[in-house]
């Protein structure tokens, strides 16, 4: 079924098909869980954030998405880490700076850098866990069966489906323009001019579809009724519903405790 992934959206999405228990949790529960976890992460000390990071990563590996996790973590965190090290470790003058001759290192700055990194890593891994184990189609069906506005549902599903076809169109325009002499390797002035030469035809082409697409939706009675019938919505166990309520209630309580203590 959808869980198998598809050639197009398979390339687009971070979703990793699988059958782990995480995959099988109701998407809405996972969403609420993610929001709760993200908010809680901000309230935790760095050790707690590290636990979140490690746990989320472990679950990601169990779900079969380990490779995707590693790739995204490396791509995102590395430039951050380098910049943080340079700016906070080396450059910002703090009272505890230790002079090593050519450079000065600040342990306080390095600690700060570590705190930021572990928080970013925790939040990123938690989000990745959600995104790699939840196919948007299933998430949307779940939201649909709980009354999400069809307009918002459309604004999530349609772009996801169109990314690959539009990228293909962009490539076709690039090839056509190059055949007509567009230089993508020239001076930076030439390249700045090349940019609109690629973008404007793409947008024009994209917008030429607009009337037809809107008419197709109207023709299929889109929003003709306040609610639409959605088949095969994911199973929603009673205990999951209670879990979600619990998590949502827990947040203000946690914030209150934090402020009070």
């Amino acid at each position: 079924m959808i869980g198998q992934g598809n050639p197009h959206t398979g390339k687009t999405l971070l979703f990793v098909p699988g059958n782990s228990f995480i995959h099988r949790i109701n998407p809405l529960t996972k969403l609420v869980g993610l929001l709760w976890l993200a908010a809680t992460t901000f309230m935790l000390p760095p050790m707690g954030m590290a636990v979140v990071f490690i746990a989320a990563f472990a679950f990601g590996v169990i779900a079969g998405a380990g490779a995707v996790f590693v790739r995204r973590l490396v791509l995102t965190v590395t430039p951050f880490a380098i910049a943080l090290f340079v700016i906070h470790g080396l450059l910002i003058k703090r009272p505890d700076m230790i002079d090593y001759g050519l450079i000065s290192l600040s342990p306080g700055g390095l600690t700060y850098m570590a705190h930021i990194l572990v928080r970013v890593a925790a939040l990123l891994t938690a989000s990745m866990l959600f995104v790699t184990t939840t196919h948007p189609a299933i998430l949307l069906k779940s939201l649909d069966s709980h009354g999400i506005s069809p307009g918002i549902a459309y604004l999530i599903s349609s772009p996801l489906l169109l990314i690959e076809p539009f990228s293909a169109r962009a490539r076709a325009i690039r090839d056509a323009q190059q055949a007509r002499g567009l230089d993508l390797n020239g001076s930076w002035k030439a390249r700045i001019k090349a940019f609109p030469a690629l973008l404007i035809p793409l947008v024009t082409l994209a917008l030429s579809d607009l009337d037809q697409r809107a008419s197709v939706l109207d023709g299929r009675a889109f929003r003709a009724r306040p609610f639409r019938v959605v088949l095969d919505a994911p199973v929603d166990q009673p205990y999951e519903r209670w879990l979600r309520r619990l998590l949502l209630l827990a947040l203000p309580v946690q914030i209150g405790l934090l402020l009070w203590l």
Binding site: N6, L161, S215, V216, A221, F222, A224
Partner: protein, 284 residues
């Protein structure tokens, strides 16, 4: 009452814009198989939109004349009523996809879901459409990864699940290779016989494959309206469409006075073979 009644329709897209439809009158009864033939710029697609009630509300203003579906003008129909009355399938396959569905099955159940039908009814209709349009083997595929021909079949299936009274097709086989085109036309011919089909095209072959009534559109006006023979022998037809060689040959013979009176022009190669054989036998 006619299913679609167009009375002296004059239409342009804006006050200073060229007139696309110029005093057009057309009446289509339920159950008909009509082909509206016209070249580029004939107003064919605009007419198709009017028949299907597809013009965005803002642009549904005729300069003069009226279009009535079951006696009621389109703007008086609700979206729900319109969706179950007439469905439209356009030329460009990818534009017909709703953007809601990650699988072919979901694309099919999207429309009926919007109608608020019972889940069992929705599944029944989806199954029926899957089989009629030969899509069962594609049921879990992402619609955006299908070939153009498959997407067109899906669009037709998605239109059929709405159980419309009429189906308007605008150059459905536009960019197809001959084999895919024949496949699709074959599929269209197997649609329920109580379904009114209006095929707008600029090629003769698809029209001849499906329709019994032919309307020739030229410069926003109807210049002919009748059966195959009438259309084929109309002076504008071969100029606009080009014709299969055998028909052209028969027409030339007819114009030169060597075609037997009362003999139909050949619609197929086989018929032409038989007719030419007889004629040359007589002449020889």
């Amino acid at each position: 009452m006619a299913l679609i009644a167009i009375e002296n329709l004059v239409f342009a897209y804006g006050p200073k814009m060229p007139v696309i439809l110029d005093g057009l009158s057309l009446s289509i009864e339920a159950g008909e198989r009509v082909a509206i033939l016209g070249g580029n710029g004939s107003g064919k697609t605009t007419l198709a939109h009017w028949i299907a009630g597809w013009l965005p509300r803002a642009a549904m203003n005729a300069t003069s004349g009226a279009v009535l579906a079951n006696g009621k003008a389109w703007p008086a129909w609700t979206a729900l009523e319109r969706a179950e009355a007439v469905q439209f399938v356009g030329q460009i396959p990818m534009q017909q996809l709703s953007g809601f569905a990650f699988t072919v099955y979901d694309e099919l159940v999207f429309g009926p879901g919007n109608l608020g039908l019972e889940p069992d009814e929705i599944r029944k209709r989806a199954d029926w459409a899957l089989d009629i349009c030969n899509l069962r083997h594609l049921v879990d595929r992402d619609p955006f990864t299908l070939s153009g021909g498959e997407q067109q079949r899906l669009s037709i299936a998605a239109a059929l699940v709405m159980h419309p009274k009429a189906l308007v097709l605008d150059e459905p086989t536009g960019n197809f290779d001959p084999e895919s085109r024949d496949n699709l036309l074959d599929q269209i011919n197997r649609l329920p016989s109580d379904l009114t089909i209006i095929l707008c095209d600029m090629a003769l072959k698809p029209a001849l494959a499906i329709a019994k009534r032919f309307v020739l559109l030229d410069g926003g006006r109807i210049v002919a309206d009748g059966g195959a023979q009438e259309i084929l022998s109309h002076p504008r037809t071969s100029a606009i469409f080009g014709m299969p060689a055998v028909m052209e040959a028969a027409l030339l013979l007819q114009q030169a006075g060597h075609w037997p009176a009362g003999e139909d022009l050949p619609l197929t190669f086989g018929r032409a073979q038989e007719q030419f054989g007889r004629i040359t036998h007589v002449a020889g």
